[in-house]
């Protein structure tokens, strides 16, 4: 690895890229257009049954029957949280967007006829948060009628999962950063790796002292820079136009570094193992499109049916976006740690595969 050669190849590629208006449009302008579109359009709507994480600390019976009643509405899926978990940190740690806390004195106070509040934690940005609050309130009303007290005993106090109360655009930012980390290197690398094979450019490069590794590194470098630029553009657009508020810490670095590395390698691998430019394009699209739509890029995974959410877990992009969301929206670094570890493993595997499969010259 000679830095001089990497730099020379980097410069050639940078020029090729910046002199190509289509490449520039798709890597920088396109994600911004999407953030504008989706930020404006996507204001509500929900799908699937929202999950509610309930911590029942009640020492009496009422808490249990309340939880059962919630679940029986069919509109919510109640998931019980261990009573030793500390709320709402637990929700944050797991990036859960809706939680209900039933206090220890729930039954005793109600029996004593004292008014009391349940605390619900929701994420206002989540499309399902309004329905979760609505359903819980309805169940509380039903209990109030049943308790037959002159004035309603039970109330609901609303809290946000995190103080910042993220908006939809806050989620859109990491999603679209993931989107731009994916599409630009993926499409370009699939394309050039099969094109250079056909035009024999790889053969020509093999006649110079440039090595395959140096060539690959220079591409990775370029997409690292491009991803960093689109990161800045996306955050700026989100904050300036939609008043989004995301937190930027050094935890975004692993994702911003490994994402381009991963997709450059993957694109390279696809272009290398396929025979023609056409088949490379097809295989590239088969991999890219489902990943692009199902990894939480344009909308939160929670709006998708459970089986589809399961499918999302096979996509590497899911872990990148999930990790970025954990860091930037929830400031949940434990979650980010797990995601970055998964991405790191995927990176090593795909990079090694690409380097091994990639040949300058054929037999």
């Amino acid at each position: 690895m000679k830095p001089r050669r990497i730099l020379a190849d980097f410069n050639v590629y940078r020029r090729e890229f910046t002199r190509n208006s289509a490449a520039l449009f798709f890597s920088l302008a396109f994600p911004v257009i999407i953030i504008l579109l989706f930020g404006a359009i996507f204001s509500g709507g929900s799908g699937g049954t929202p999950q509610l994480y309930v911590q029942n600390l009640d020492t009496g019976q009422l808490g249990g029957s309340f939880t059962t009643a919630l679940n029986q509405t069919g509109a919510l899926q109640v998931v019980l949280v261990p009573s030793n978990a500390s709320f709402p940190q637990y929700l944050l740690d797991h990036s859960y967007s809706a939680g209900l806390l039933i206090p220890p004195t729930f039954t005793t106070e109600a029996m004593a006829g004292k008014p009391e509040n349940l605390t619900i934690y929701t994420n206002p940005a989540d499309a399902s948060s309004q329905s979760v609050i609505g359903i819980t309130s309805a169940v509380i009303n039903a209990f109030n009628l049943k308790l037959e007290h002159t004035s309603p005993l039970l109330g609901l106090s609303l809290k946000s999962v995190n103080e910042k109360s993220p908006s939809y655009v806050d989620f859109l930012i990491p999603g679209l950063i993931g989107f731009s980390i994916l599409i630009s290197p993926m499409f370009s690398m699939v394309n050039i790796s099969s094109e250079y094979k056909r035009t024999k450019l790889f053969k020509q490069l093999s006649l110079t002292p440039l090595t395959k590794g140096e060539w690959l590194v220079s591409k990775i470098l370029w997409y690292l820079i491009l991803s960093a630029i689109s990161f800045i553009i996306m955050v700026a657009a989100g904050e300036l136009i939609f008043h989004a508020s995301v937190s930027i810490t050094y935890w975004v670095i692993p994702f911003m570094a490994m994402g381009p590395l991963f997709f450059v390698s993957l694109g390279m691998l696809v272009g290398t193992v396929t025979k023609s430019e056409e088949s490379a394009g097809i295989v590239g699209n088969i991999i890219t499109f489902p990943m692009m739509f199902l990894s939480g890029t344009f909308f939160p995974l929670s709006v998708m049916p459970a089986w589809l959410q399961g499918v999302a877990h096979i996509f590497p992009l899911y872990y990148i976006i999930n990790g970025l969301t954990d860091t930037m929206v929830y400031t949940n670094y434990t979650g980010a740690e797990v995601d970055s570890a998964i991405v790191a493993v995927l990176c090593i595997v795909v990079f090694m595969a690409a380097v091994t499969a990639f040949k300058w010259r054929e037999d």
């Binding site: 020379a8 050639v12 020509q204 006649l207 110079t208 002292p209 010259r361 037999d363």
Partner: protein, 314 residues
């Protein structure tokens, strides 16, 4: 593939029994080749003869199926990386990055090779000065080829491979490239050239190999080939049937009427030309044109390749 131990020290390329197949197609069929240091060696042959395949094996771009190959004392397939620093290559159908200019291409290659050539000079001698800042995709076919030639000159190679460097170029550019090749030779480089232009091979090469169906049919200096396979000198005069009758009786050489106008007289040696001219003069008959011709490499090529098609040559 075993490396050939160079028995003769000045052998730059040494090939014995090279075979290369593409699936069921045998592109190179037991080829032997020896190129000496400092010579311009041309491979001539019809389309599909296996020239490019041979050159690519020598460059280390393709793995030979069998045979011994040694280039600058190295095995091109296994020691390609070392070899490539010492050779310059202009491939057939050269392509470069669409949006880079010839000037940028040269500086790119210079950085890769770690050399510092005079880009202006290279652009000048290959005839690209006017197009130095155009994107590669906007260059004409001939200009694109010249970029390929320019890049083959960046690393001061001791051995230069030029695969059809002048195909598709205008006559002036072709002669410009001949000068480039002569210059490279003058600076001590060995040049392996493939071409379809026999005139080019005749003008530039020290030795010529004529290749067909993956084999070299003959290999010698252009003048030896011509004298061996070409016909004798001929004097051609356009004087009609009267001239024909007169010369036929006046001369002891073979005289032929080519058509109603031209008469052809075969002369064994150059001193006999004067005898023929004298006889024409003495005839007192009017004539339009008088010329002395000799077979070119082209005639030899057509003769040899044609004979091979008819199965007369192995």
């Amino acid at each position: 593939m075993n490396e050939v131990s160079s028995s003769e020290p000045d052998l730059v390329i040494q090939v014995e029994g090279l075979v290369k197949n593409y699936g069921n197609t045998r592109a190179v069929d037991g080829l032997d080749l020896a190129v000496h240091s400092g010579e311009v060696f041309s491979i001539l042959g019809p389309n599909g003869a296996g020239k490019t395949t041979t050159v690519e094996v020598l460059e280390g771009l393709r793995k030979p199926d069998s045979g011994k190959v040694s280039v600058l004392g190295l095995d091109p397939w296994h020691d390609g990386y070392t070899l490539h620093k010492k050779v310059g290559v202009m491939p057939q159908g050269f392509r470069f990055f669409d949006k880079s200019t010839p000037r940028e291409a040269i500086s790119y290659y210079a950085s890769l090779f770690g050399t510092s050539p005079d880009a202006e000079e290279i652009l000048e001698i290959v005839g690209l000065s006017d197009a130095a800042d155009k994107h590669f995709q906007d260059l004409s076919g001939g200009q694109k080829q010249k970029v390929g030639l320019a890049l083959a000159m960046v690393n001061d190679a001791t051995l230069v491979f030029l695969d059809e460097p002048t195909t598709g170029l205008d006559p002036q550019s072709r002669r410009g490239i001949w000068d480039v090749i002569r210059n490279l030779k003058k600076h001590g480089s060995t040049i392996l050239l493939t071409t379809h232009y026999l005139e080019e091979a005749e003008q530039l090469s020290d030795r010529v190999a004529i290749m067909n169906n993956g084999k070299i049919i003959v290999c010698d200096t252009p003048s030896h080939l011509i004298s061996k396979y070409g016909s004798e000198r001929k004097v051609v005069v356009s004087g009609g049937s009267k001239m024909y009758e007169y010369l036929k009786s006046a001369l002891s050489f073979r005289v032929e009427a080519v058509d109603s106008e031209s008469v052809q007289i075969y002369v064994p040696s150059s001193t006999d030309i004067l005898k023929v001219v004298k006889a024409i003069d003495e005839s007192g008959l009017p004539y339009e044109e008088l010329s002395v011709r000799r077979d070119s490499l082209e005639d030899v090529f057509i003769f040899l390749v044609g004979r091979m098609k008819e199965g007369e040559l192995s």
